[in-house]
């Protein structure tokens, strides 16, 4: 069942849900609906958005901050708009926490603390990706739903732990080679811990705990887009586990020529999708008569998804 891709694993670990797809296919709305649906079932959920448009503010009809913000009406549902500035601060705090656990020369540890307090050493565009890695290592939530910007940004974020791990490995290699000159060994331990976070994030991304879902409209171009995303994720070993066919015209309203024809077209592509992705869980989400804004309307979509 499609729902099995969403509910947290029985072993108590966190479910990580990613939604990919072209811009405008409804990823943010569906991310909100999935998060809300899981929260309604009693799970502790975080909806983490890296969308610069902050669409979740409109969808959930409340101001979502750059800190985890409780969604109105829920004690177990939080949302966050991850922003670069706050991400740098969070990453600094995380690194400083790690420095606190290092054993090594006191002077070096003091230097490391000062260094990380003054120098975030993170280009702003990747700051939010580090927070993503932190969330991937967190056990605080039963499920985390990531609402990311379309296409490339989404894949950039997914691929970040690999890139960052590569950078850290190189840095560790160099620092080991010059440790006799710099006298800095605690820093190597710190970088190893940071690399460890990325390794864990990679393991989780490849595990059963992660569900990468693709959202598409039942039309020709999105089907090709789905194939392209599938190919882009393959090198990382991340499979697309489910497809959400969004804004499908409900059969019962397609009574005149125009809508009958549109419905026929959609059915053709739905059949194509089912044929192209035979082993994937697929769910159809209907187009509703109004825009999906506000908790009550999001609940309508959540009901469809959680029932699937």
């Amino acid at each position: 069942m499609f729902k099995d891709l969403l509910i947290p694993p029985k072993n108590g670990s966190t479910r990580f849900i990613f939604l990919g797809g072209k811009g405008g296919v409804g990823k943010s709305t569906l991310a909100a609906a999935i998060a809300l649906g899981l929260a309604e079932e009693g799970y502790k959920v975080l909806l983490a958005s890296t969308d610069l448009q902050k669409s979740q503010n409109d969808i959930l009809s409340q101001e979502i901050g750059s800190e985890e913000t409780k969604v109105n009406g829920f004690d177990n549902f939080e949302a966050i708009n991850i922003d670069a500035k706050e991400s740098i601060r969070k990453h600094q705090l995380e690194v400083i926490k790690k420095i606190g656990s290092l054993r090594g020369d006191e002077a070096e540890i003091l230097w490391l603390k000062e260094y990380w307090e003054k120098n975030p050493v993170l280009p702003c565009e990747t700051a939010s990706y580090n927070v993503f890695v932190q969330y991937m290592n967190s056990n605080e939530y039963d499920a985390i739903v990531f609402d990311t910007a379309p296409g490339g940004h989404n894949l950039d974020m997914i691929g970040y732990p690999w890139k960052q791990l590569d950078r850290l490995k190189k840095s560790i290699m160099v620092k080991r080679e010059v440790a006799d000159l710099t006298g800095k060994t605690a820093e190597i331990e710190l970088l190893e811990k940071m690399a460890g976070d990325n390794i864990k994030a990679i393991e989780k991304l490849r595990s059963e705990e992660t569900s990468y879902l693709l959202v598409l409209h039942p039309e020709m171009l999105p089907v090709y887009e789905a194939k392209r995303i599938q190919e882009s994720l393959a090198p990382y070993g991340i499979p697309i586990k489910g497809l959400i066919l969004n804004e499908v015209l409900p059969k019962e309203v397609c009574t005149n020529y125009f809508f009958k024809e549109r419905r026929k077209l959609q059915e053709k592509y739905i059949a194509l999708v089912r044929n192209e992705f035979p082993n994937m869980e697929i769910i159809e989400v209907p187009l509703i008569e109004t825009e999906v804004v506000g908790i009550e309307r999001v609940k309508r979509i959540a009901k469809v998804i959680m029932g699937g």
């Binding site: 230097w111 003054k118 120098n119 975030p120 050493v121 280009p123 950078r167 190189k170 840095s171 290699m173 160099v174 620092k175 080679e177 010059v178 000159l181 710099t182 800095k184």
Partner: protein
């Protein structure tokens, strides 16, 4: 008559800033203060080369590689890790083509001791 050459100690200074984000600029202030103290106190006994990045990055890499080789760190050069090497060892001061201090700005005493040592060796 044979002209007596003044023996000089050559200092290569690799400041921070290679990462391009400028977030480590603060480390350069004490480094440059130290360099100006060295020039004031050692006058013509030292020659200071402050390595430039940006459009001069290729030259900086070549000089760094020479210094790494001279310092017995040729393995790093062969690893081909590029900017990672810079990031790991700057701010760096090399004396007579060999790494003297790496990854942090040394104390004035420590640097002066090494310059005096190098002057003795070259005299």
């Amino acid at each position: 008559m044979k002209e007596e050459m003044t023996k000089k100690v050559i200092l290569d200074i690799f400041p921070t800033g290679i990462c391009g984000c400028g977030q480590r600029d603060a480390e350069n202030a004490p480094l440059f203060k130290l360099v100006s103290d060295v020039l004031r106190d050692f006058k013509d006994k030292v020659e200071v080369n402050i390595v430039e990045y940006g459009t001069e990055i290729d030259k900086a890499f070549l000089r760094l590689n020479q210094i790494l080789e001279n310092s017995g760190k040729g393995r790093i050069v062969s690893m081909g890790l590029g900017a990672q090497v810079f990031r790991s060892i700057i701010p760096m001061i090399a004396i007579n083509g060999k790494i003297a201090f790496a990854a942090s700005v040394p104390s004035k005493e420590a640097l002066y001791a090494k310059i005096n040592e190098a002057l003795k060796e070259s005299s």
